[in-house]
C-alpha cells in the first residue's frame, strides 16, 4: 500500500509513521498539540498553497523514499543525526 492524497493524516501516520520526518522537513505539520492534524493529505497540502501538480509530485517522492529499504526508512535517519 502506498500513501495517497485522500489519506487522512491520522491513518497515514498509523500506517507510515516514518513519513512524519519527511513531511516535517517540507514544513508540513503532521502532529500538533500531540495529535495528528485532521484532514486528508491533499487538503493539508492545499492549505499550504500546494498546486495539484506539486501535491502529486510530493506524494510520489514520499512513496519512493519510503520504499528505499537500503536506508532503512526515514525513522533511521532520525536516529542517525
Amino acid at each position: 500500500m502506498d500513501i495517497s492524497k485522500d489519506m487522512w493524516m491520522e491513518e497515514l501516520l498509523e500506517k507510515f509513521p516514518e513519513a512524519q520526518d519527511f513531511l516535517s522537513r517540507n514544513d508540513i505539520i503532521c502532529v500538533q498539540c500531540g495529535e495528528a492534524v485532521w484532514g486528508s493529505l491533499e487538503n493539508i497540502l492545499k492549505a499550504k498553497d500546494y498546486s495539484d501538480k506539486e501535491i502529486d509530485s510530493l506524494i510520489k517522492e514520499i512513496n519512493e523514499h519510503l520504499k528505499d529499504k537500503k536506508t532503512g526508512g526515514i525513522k533511521c535517519l532520525i536516529r542517525s543525526y
Binding site: P17, R25, Q32, G34, E35, V37, W38, G39, A47, I78
Partner: protein, 543 residues
Amino acid sequence: MPNSKLLVPLPYNEPILSYKIGSREKKLIKEKIAEMKSNKIEIPLIIGGKEVKTGNMGKCIIPHEHSHLLGTYHKVGPKEVQMAIDAALEARKSWASMPWEERVAIFRRVAELLATKYRFILNAATMLNQSKTVFQAEIDSACELIDFFRFNTYFAMKIYERQPNSSPGIWNVLEHRPLEGFIFAVTPFNFTSIAGNLPTAPVIMGNVSLWKPASSAVYSAYYLMLLFKEAGVPDGVINFIPGSGASVGTPVLQSPDLAGIHFTGSTPTFHTMWKTVGNNIDKYKTYPRIVGETGGKDFIFVHSSADVDVVKVAIVRGAFEYQGQKCSAASRAYIPESIWTKLKDKLLITIKELKMGTVEDFTNFTNAIIDKNAFDSIVSYIEYAKKSSDAEIVIGGNYDDSVGYYIEPTVILTTDPKFKTMEEEIFGPVITIYIYKDNDYEKTLHICDETSPYALTGSIFANDRKYIVKAKEILTNAAGNFYVNDKPTGAVVGQQPFGGARASGTNDKAGDMINLLRWISPRTIKETFNPPIDYKYPFMEEK
C-alpha cells in the same frame, strides 16, 4: 421545584491535596495505580446509555512504559456516529425541557463524586494513560474538573437570572434556550479536565453532546463517562464515540443537526473543522456555534529589573511541567543580556536536578511524551536546532523511546528572534531563548508580539513597574492570559478565565460565563397584560 426561586451554592476552588509523605492520599493513589495497572479493560462506545462494540480496536497504553496495555477501546464507525446523533436528539427532548436546577443538581453531584469516590480513579487513570505526575494529575483531573462543574453550574444560574427591563403593562422575558441540535465535543489528551468540560459545559445549559476524546486519552475519558452515569446524567445526553478524526468528524460535521462545536486541540485541525462547516453551511438547520481553544507559542519576557531566581523557577515550571504538553507552556523566552549569564548558571544547576521517569516514582519531575507521533515531532525540532547555525542546545536535547517516550527538558539558545523554534508550537519540553540588548526592551517587545501567529499565554517579569506597564501595552493582543511575575501556565477556573485569540482560538474563556453564553439561543418573550382593542393611534386624530 415550581414554587421556589433557587440559589445555586456559591462555588469554591477544590483544595489541592499535597500527597506528602505519610498522607492518606499518597497511600490511596499508589494503591489505585497498582490496581488499575494490573487490570486490562475493554472500552465500548456509549450511545444512548448503551454499550456498543464495533470490533475495530484501538489501544490504551502507558506512555512511560509503552509496551504495557491498560486496555483496548472500540472505535466508532459511520453507522455508530448516526446512532449517536439519533440518541442525542432523542435525549434532547426531555433534557432541554428539564428544569435547569435539576440539571445543575446532577452536575453538582458529579463534582462531589469526583472530589471523593472518583478522585483517585481519575487521577490514577490520568497518571497512567497520560503520563502525569501525581501533582499534575491532581490539579487537572481532580481540582480543575471539579471547579468546572461547580463554577459552570453557578454561572448557569447567573445567566438565567439575566432578564430585560419591562415597561408598565408588559412583561419581557428572556428564555435561555439550548441550541437546536447537538454539540460536537472534541477533546485533547493533555487535560482530563478539558476532556470533561467540553462535552458537559453545553450540557449544563440544556444541550446534548457527542464526545470524541483524543485517541491517546480514551482510558481516562471512559472513567469520566462512568462518573457521569453514576451521578445521574441521563442516557443519550452525552454520547461517547472514540475513533479516528476521519470516521467521526466527517459524518458529524455533515449532519444537518450540528448546532455547535466545542473543541480543544491544534490550530490546523480547527481550521479544517471550520472550513468543513463553511462548506456545509447550506445543510445546517441552524448556524453552528464554533468554539475552539487551539495552540500557543507562549512566552516569558524578562526585563533586567526582574528577580533572576523567580525567572528561573518560572522557566522550569512553565516550560517543563507535564513535559511542556500544555497549551499554555512557556516555549520561548526573551532575556536581557545583562542577566543572562547569571540566569543561565542557575538554570543549568536546576535543570540538571530534574528527574525524569515513571509516574509511580514520585520523585520524578517529568514523565513521558504522550505517544510515538508526538515524540517524533518534538525530536524533529530538537534535531533541527542541533543542525542549525543560528542555535545551540544549552542543556538537554537527548531522547529515548525504547521503553517510554522520554525527552529531556531542553533549552535552545538562538541568535535569531524569528528562529523556527521561536515561532512554531512544539508541544514538548523545549524552550528557546533569545538574548536581547537591555536597551532594546521596547523593540524586543514588538518582536515578541509579532513573531508567532498565536496569542494564548505570556508572562512579563520585572520589578520596575513602568516596564510592566509598557509590556502590558505593547503585548495587549499577544496573549489572552497574561501574567505578571508568574509563569504562563496554571490558570485556575473562576480566577483566571482561560483562552486566547489570534490563531489560539475563539477566546471563549473555558470555565467562565463567556463560554456558557455560546451554548444558548435566547428567546425573547413579550407579554402584554392589557392589549389594545383599537388599531388607531392618538396621532391619527385631527378633531
